[in-house]
Symmetry: C2
C-alpha cells in the first residue's frame, strides 16, 4: 500500500501546548529573549501549569527555549555563535541522512521530494510568501530524514529542527532575494542526486547546501540588532 495509517496518535495537552507556543514563537509573538511564564501561558492556553511545564521542557529539548533552576524559561537569542553551532551539526546530520536515504529511499518518497520542489516553484511564481517557502524548505529536509529511516537520526534532526526553522526565518528577513534565487535550484539538485547520484557527490552537496545557508544568515546577522 502507499502508506501505513497515521496510527491515530492521540496526544496529550503537553504536546498541544508545545505546538501552540512553538507557533507563537515562529510568528514573532514571543521575540528572542522573551520570558515564557508558566502561569501566564497556563491560563492563556486554558490548561494547567503541569502541562505547560511539560510542553516547555519539550521545547527546551528542541533548543527553542532555554531555562535553568528556578530561573524561568526564555526564547533563545539568535547569535552568530549559535548559528555556527547549529549549522555545523546540521551539515553532519544532513550528510548522513542524504547518504543513507540514497540507498534506502522508496520511489514514493523520492516523488514526494519532487512534489515539494514543485510546490516551491509554484509558490515563487505566485509571489513567494517567505514563511511558506521556509516551511516547504524544512518539509523537504524532513522528507529526506524520513526516507533515511533511522529513528535516532530523525530525533537528532528534530532536536535542532525548530532552531533551523527559526534561523531560516531570520535568514529570509536579511537576505530574501538571495534565498529566493537559490532555494528551488539547490533543492532540485539534491532531489536529483538522491534519485540517481554519486554517493560522494551527494555527501558533498548536502554539506554545501547547509554551508550556503550558514553564510547567507551570518552575512546579515552581525548587522542586525
Amino acid at each position: 500500500m502507499s502508506s501505513a495509517l497515521p496510527k491515530a496518535a492521540r496526544r496529550g495537552l503537553a504536546d498541544e501546548a508545545a505546538d501552540l507556543v512553538r507557533a507563537a514563537i515562529f510568528s514573532g509573538h514571543f521575540p528572542p529573549g522573551a520570558p515564557l511564564r508558566e502561569v501566564e501561558l497556563a491560563q492563556r492556553l486554558g490548561v494547567s501549569r503541569g502541562s505547560v511545564r511539560e510542553g516547555l521542557a519539550q521545547l527546551e529539548h528542541e533548543g527553542l527555549v532555554r531555562g535553568g533552576w528556578h530561573r524561568g524559561t526564555t526564547v533563545i537569542r539568535v547569535t552568530a555563535e549559535d548559528a555556527q553551532e547549529v549549522y555545523a551539526l546540521r551539515a553532519a546530520l544532513d550528510r548522513l541522512a542524504a547518504t543513507t536515504a540514497r540507498r534506502a529511499a522508496t520511489a514514493e518518497q523520492l516523488c514526494a521530494l519532487d512534489r515539494l520542489v514543485a510546490e516551491m516553484t509554484a509558490e515563487i511564481a505566485e509571489g513567494g510568501d517567505a514563511p511558506r517557502l521556509v516551511a516547504l524548505d524544512i518539509a523537504f529536509h524532513d522528507q529526506i530524514y524520513a526516507a533515511a529511516g533511522n529513528g535516532r537520526l530523525t530525533s537528532a534532526w528534530e532536536a535542532i529542527r525548530s532552531q533551523v526553522h527559526l534561523f531560516q526565518l531570520r535568514r529570509v528577513d536579511v537576505a530574501y532575494d538571495h534565498y529566493r534565487a537559490r532555494v528551488v535550484d539547490e533543492h532540485r539538485e539534491l532531489a536529483a542526486l538522491l534519485r540517481s547520484g554519486d554517493i560522494r557527490t551527494l555527501a558533498r552537496r548536502a554539506e554545501e547546501h547547509v554551508e550556503s545557508a550558514r553564510r547567507s544568515l551570518l552575512a546579515g546577522l552581525p548587522t542586525a540588532p
Copy 2:
C-alpha cells in the same frame, strides 16, 4: 586560570530521579523491556510522581526508555536494528566532534584524554573490571565532545550517550576479550591524532572506531535473546 568554577549547579528532584533510574538500568536492576511504573518509582525514591514523570521524560529523550500515550514507560530492548541506528549516528557525530576538537582543543583538554588512556591501562593491569572500562571509554568520548565546544553537538551526543553506554555494556558481555585487547590502543591513537594528526585521517579513524564497536556488538547480538 585553569578552569571556571563548576557553577554550583543545584538540580531538582527530577534530575536526581533520572540519575537514579539510569543507574538502576545500567546495573541491570531494570532489564530491557521492564516496565517503569511511576507510582512504584515515586514511593521507592521518596519523591512525588510529578518529579518521577519529569525524570522519565528526560530518560526518554536519552533514548534509554520508551513510552506512549497512556501506555507506560519501558526500558528499551537492544535489537540489531537499534544498534545499527545508534552507531550510524554516532559515527557521524564522532567524526564532527573529532575534527572540530582537532582545531579547538586546549592543551589541558588533550592532557585529560591522555590521563583517561592511562587510567584504562591501569585498570586493565589490575584485572580489568568491565563496567569500569566502559565508563572510562564513555568518559573519553565525553571529553572529546567537550573539547569540540559545540553545545548542540554535545546535546546530540547526550541524546544517544546512554544508549551507547548500554550497548557497550552489552558488548563487553558478548566479546570482552576483543574489547579488552583493543580499547587502549584505539583510544591512544585517537588521542594522538587529536593532538597532532591529519584532519582527514582523524575523521576516518573516528568513524572506524565506531564501526569497530558496531561490528563487535552485532557479532554477538543475534545469538542472544
